[in-house]
Symmetry: D2
Subunit: 453 residues, 4 copies
Amino acid sequence: MGFREVIEHPDRYDFDVETVGECLLDSPLAATSMRVAGKAGGYVNGQRVLLTRDEAVLKEHFARYGKTPSLELAGPHAKIYHDPMWARAAIVTCGGLCPGLNNVIKGLVRSLWFDYGVRTIYGIRYGYLGLVPGFHHPPIQLDPDVVDDIHEIGGTILGSSRGEQDVKAMVDTLQRMNINMLFTIGGDGTLRGAQKIVEEIKARNLAISVVGVPKTVDNDLQFIDRSFGFETAVYETFDVLSSAHIEAKGAHNGIGLVKLMGRDSGFIAAYASMANTVVNLCLVPEVPFTLDGENGLLRAIERRWATGKTHMVIVVAEGAGQELIAGEEKRDASGNVLKKDIGEFLVSRINAHFAAIGKEVHVKYFDPSYSIRSVPAHGTDAILCNLLAVNAVHAAMAGRTNCIVSQWDDAPVLVPCRMATIERKKIDPDGPFWQAVLSSTRQNYYFHGEASE
Amino acid sequence: MGFREVIEHPDRYDFDVETVGECLLDSPLAATSMRVAGKAGGYVNGQRVLLTRDEAVLKEHFARYGKTPSLELAGPHAKIYHDPMWARAAIVTCGGLCPGLNNVIKGLVRSLWFDYGVRTIYGIRYGYLGLVPGFHHPPIQLDPDVVDDIHEIGGTILGSSRGEQDVKAMVDTLQRMNINMLFTIGGDGTLRGAQKIVEEIKARNLAISVVGVPKTVDNDLQFIDRSFGFETAVYETFDVLSSAHIEAKGAHNGIGLVKLMGRDSGFIAAYASMANTVVNLCLVPEVPFTLDGENGLLRAIERRWATGKTHMVIVVAEGAGQELIAGEEKRDASGNVLKKDIGEFLVSRINAHFAAIGKEVHVKYFDPSYSIRSVPAHGTDAILCNLLAVNAVHAAMAGRTNCIVSQWDDAPVLVPCRMATIERKKIDPDGPFWQAVLSSTRQNYYFHGEASE
Amino acid sequence: MGFREVIEHPDRYDFDVETVGECLLDSPLAATSMRVAGKAGGYVNGQRVLLTRDEAVLKEHFARYGKTPSLELAGPHAKIYHDPMWARAAIVTCGGLCPGLNNVIKGLVRSLWFDYGVRTIYGIRYGYLGLVPGFHHPPIQLDPDVVDDIHEIGGTILGSSRGEQDVKAMVDTLQRMNINMLFTIGGDGTLRGAQKIVEEIKARNLAISVVGVPKTVDNDLQFIDRSFGFETAVYETFDVLSSAHIEAKGAHNGIGLVKLMGRDSGFIAAYASMANTVVNLCLVPEVPFTLDGENGLLRAIERRWATGKTHMVIVVAEGAGQELIAGEEKRDASGNVLKKDIGEFLVSRINAHFAAIGKEVHVKYFDPSYSIRSVPAHGTDAILCNLLAVNAVHAAMAGRTNCIVSQWDDAPVLVPCRMATIERKKIDPDGPFWQAVLSSTRQNYYFHGEASE
Amino acid sequence: MGFREVIEHPDRYDFDVETVGECLLDSPLAATSMRVAGKAGGYVNGQRVLLTRDEAVLKEHFARYGKTPSLELAGPHAKIYHDPMWARAAIVTCGGLCPGLNNVIKGLVRSLWFDYGVRTIYGIRYGYLGLVPGFHHPPIQLDPDVVDDIHEIGGTILGSSRGEQDVKAMVDTLQRMNINMLFTIGGDGTLRGAQKIVEEIKARNLAISVVGVPKTVDNDLQFIDRSFGFETAVYETFDVLSSAHIEAKGAHNGIGLVKLMGRDSGFIAAYASMANTVVNLCLVPEVPFTLDGENGLLRAIERRWATGKTHMVIVVAEGAGQELIAGEEKRDASGNVLKKDIGEFLVSRINAHFAAIGKEVHVKYFDPSYSIRSVPAHGTDAILCNLLAVNAVHAAMAGRTNCIVSQWDDAPVLVPCRMATIERKKIDPDGPFWQAVLSSTRQNYYFHGEASE
């Protein structure tokens, strides 16, 4: 492991969008890009990467910053900042479960241990909460044997939690434990928390790298082609959609209604609908719909029956149609507003509508979210987890901080936290991706009577 | 197929509990009992079977009828009633989906076709509704090629429906189609419907056998050791309980709450809890519980936390704790009483309780029912489907009617419909089965503080 | 745990077939029988059980011993032999993997710990080999936390090995470790090893109970209705048979040939063939077949093609047709006889035959054995594992030794090792079970041209 | 469907590498690229796409052709060649099974039917063989109802075959059936066959488009980023590798040896090894290895034992190490050379070696190939199948021929058959992809003693 010279006095470790990486092409540990097939790798060239292909993102970035974004390529460096002999790492998982959390933990531990020789690795319990001593959750020590089989199990061996914690208390803990690398695995809330931790670290002038592995089962973070866990989640939706299809066909005018994850963006719902082509309607947050009227959902269902078909499968993202429910405020016995679920809302409205017009329908409602997100990552998704973890370790060892690791435009890159958290990625209702969904479901026929079947 | 002589003038085809079967021991098609392992078969002896082992059932039967029940053994007969050359069979599936419906259909078709040479077999669409012409669902014709692969798919290729239909209209249809064998696959509602059809058939003096294959995923019919689909359903609960466990461990004081099928009896919940030993509390309809108080559910959860554990899995049958909800009547905007779900009820009450006492808990709720019941039958459960189907065909061909096929006390028997529908089987809270559940979950410790862990 | 009085001076702890158990009906831990559905339990009555139903077994036993076998019912006893405060248990797994090994280990540990308060439980590594110090595999200590999740993973956390070890060295180890209960999980070789250990223990006059949990994925031990792991193994064969069907249909005259476990008996092959009704021929050790001739396998395949079908699925137990291969001795370069695999043998012979007659066939060969036996137990099979484990603990605590726990005739019993190892259970080619297989596959048509399709 | 004007007299329909496509950006059916996450689509711009990123391919192409390759973007065209009212399509599947075949068939049928209104679609049985009347396999007619559920089933509903057929006879059949679009789903042999069919079509001056959907579960065709079925195949290897791990740990010095598909390239083996990080050695055709010597496989296994580990998982692609076996010619009784399997070869050599040095090892051999390739496509892999199918229909309708559809550099393109079949894609042993495999398995330590663990 002696090929890396430890830099004694780095002048900075918070890289900028202008930073040029110093990736080592010849390293046996060279970062590889995650092309899903054959061509994995190939773009690690020690040069600044100008990412030019997603024009909408580029234009927006230019409008905002007056310059084209360039991101540092991830990968091993010729010189590292932290001395492996003295390095002490901590790993924390935050927010909801997602396939691959344990793969990322395993990848971090193995890369720290085998690639760099780091021997002190802590697992923080229950998210940021575990960094606050008052909650009494002591960290656990991790090594390759402890993590050897965890990639076969869903969830996170560390536990997780949501929400913010006292920043000073957390940095006190890092300082007390002599941590100099903190790996945060979490979503945008986690990244915002990480940014606050970085500010406090800077204020105290500490040498602690904070590197994030972005987690969003909804796959809706900017500057991330594909987030870990997403592919597995889509894969797992297959069986529940088949069940919905079977239930729908089991009854006359049966409707299998499946709610899938996706609070602000409907990527899982959209991918799932294209991956199992039993879906007739796919409802996502980005594409508003109405219940009533000639182009409303209820009319769409009637158009389905009018084709002579007696079964139907509808997929709805959890964040779809929220504006419809807002208009239907419900209160509990104490007068509190009840937040109603779009899935249950649609069940009751579809039932009410067809009861009113005297038409028999049978709605079978599926809400499989927890079952989908608690499985272990498989296939290329599992490989992605490991590559992100390895690149996070390379970044932290080289003294990078306040950044996340990502695959963007098929290249492994480091993205500053502040860029990643600007806003969520969404489906463009006018773009070709949504057109492909429409082409697969043919739902424009049902919603708008377009074309004849 | 000529070894069976067609009886020209049978004096009766509605057998009585006193009936002695005429099973052929030497037949290559001898019925086999469904011992789960090795010893399958062995009890087909051409004699009346005196079923003596389940003493509680025997006593109750004796008290009710003044005699010990004896059931005709199922199996092929030396003489058959219907002439295969002229026989026309119809198959109907009713009620909710259950693993194995398609296996039973396939088994019926293959046995009619290959064992007896029956060539006209109709599949009635959407339950009893398909027997009423006004609904316009013409039957489909079935043969071995049509059903060849259906055992690999869940649900029923015929569709199903619930509820009663006009008996006269249905028998009119049977008569018009010249059906002389009707196979009804369904639960106790279906069997009561079958009894009414039989009465109308008798009133018209028609020669139509009506034989039921009892379907109850809850496994709660009398005189049935094990109903088809049950084993597969229990098997399928494994993964969702593991997911609940992973979600529970993923959060601090996480509770994985899983609602499973079981309106009147908790067999699925109980078996599932023993089959995946991650379950800490199993709640079933037969064992009432309270929320509050020293022995209430909320205190039980607190006792779990008091042991130092920070996660918990609770299984609740859908029919459990209904008396608790009755006391919490809720109404919708129109003033109608809302039937509240025990699962959601527990979620809200657990959350409310711990919010009130300022203790953090995270309830993750799973409602996988449709996904569990829409899978195809596997393993010995699939074998059971086929054996029931074959025995139903033997019974109908021999002129039996108004009965169901069953495995009882490890023997294949015919049970009169009126016996099977007397009342549902339930878990005996004082019996050894429930003790085994308690031993597996150790929930008496949580509910009653019994013993120390 | 104080309700059991420790017996100070037991006069014997090697029970005899005449032994009367002292099971406690009122115990909250009453043993329950493993009826697959509803009626679990009910036969624990503190009386000697006369097992009368399997007449063939009874007759043979009578002929051999001059008396009818009676077996002690398993379950908790009013008085126990070993003092839980001083008890030290050891668990060992031997032979090939089988679904449910880890469930049994978990069940043993939990019952020892929670039911009796035993706090010293060793896991012996790699079978009997781990009891011989020279192999340097120190035991691991087990407690409920260590085994909490192991039931979700196939295999055995202890490792396993085959073959005999030095008996004196093993008993030396038990003595040195102050073990007074040894639980052996293994097949007939393991049980014979256990008997030798018991003899050495007796010779040394030690108070060590040796209780076996019989393991045979082939389900072919005597006095055992159903062995743990069998149901899961059958369940797991479903997908591979469907794959074989798909491959067979993917080619013209495609033959999916699947070799399944079963050295001396064909129960897995037979059950699998009935559970997934895509199988056209099922070949087992108990039913010899020939390759050539009018009733040979090759002619059977030709009869299949003659029906107009262009695909076929054949299941062969690994022990089937060994007599055919014996006649085709092959030797390696060194002149050693090569034991040829029945699966590969059939592939080559089928290919050779059809090549010779100029008929195209495409044989797709599947050998999934390891994949089937390395899964975790599910469903009622998992429940069985736990019940066997609990009853093994009851037996050992009560001072029983030289016996195994079993479900026989639906009752939990203790079977002396010498009875269990007399000979293997086999399929009776003339019995109703094999008739049911023939009825499902309809292979008599292919082999013998019986009946027309 | 009227927005496309039918071109009456196209001057050519065999596009050249210089061809500029006329893709319609504004079409609701615009082709979308298959970025695995979020950014799907975006590159359909009606311009020639200059694919510049894979430098090795570019250099080789330039060296060969003296120009940079440019490929026509796939997608709908403003003008189409075939009149949908008169169009008659045929679909054929050739070669071995692969996940997703039925998805592609379904996608072709639905796009022809719904996007273009083509009403005559034939499914050719058993590959090219079904185009030769002498084999008596009449085609089946396909429509959306026939293919509705086939995506849930592995294999191909059409059947398949390998090998060449008489070109004149096949084109006679196409002509006799008035086919004007032939879709061939198959590998490089199929594409070479398609090229011959095209030549014969040209010679006869027929207007028949021949468009291929390239199938290679090994993912080793040129100009194809990712072939359909590959992702699913990798996903499916997860469980068998876990089984191998469990079996290896179940025995002392246990070796789980898994042979995976990959005759000429080791992509499945390599991806599988990274996706389930239980693999210690990954052997592929592109990286030769020896058995003996300091850097041989046997020494590598010994180095594993020397670390104190007592289990090991080895993955071997079926085409790896062929040069080793060549040197070990074996003959059968008749003197014929036996082609020995690398998997069985390694089993026997590993066993022989360790038997010779008196060290116990237990090799558990897995050969799951057929089980892996006969599953249905899931997740994004299923989406890819559909997109390829849709683009194949667009290409054929626009009069393109002698080409395949592909995703290359994240764009949907048409690749001339002659480019796709130049040579197979292989792993570059010096590239970053293989480095990533080495980093995951850490096998250089075992093979070369590099670094200490």
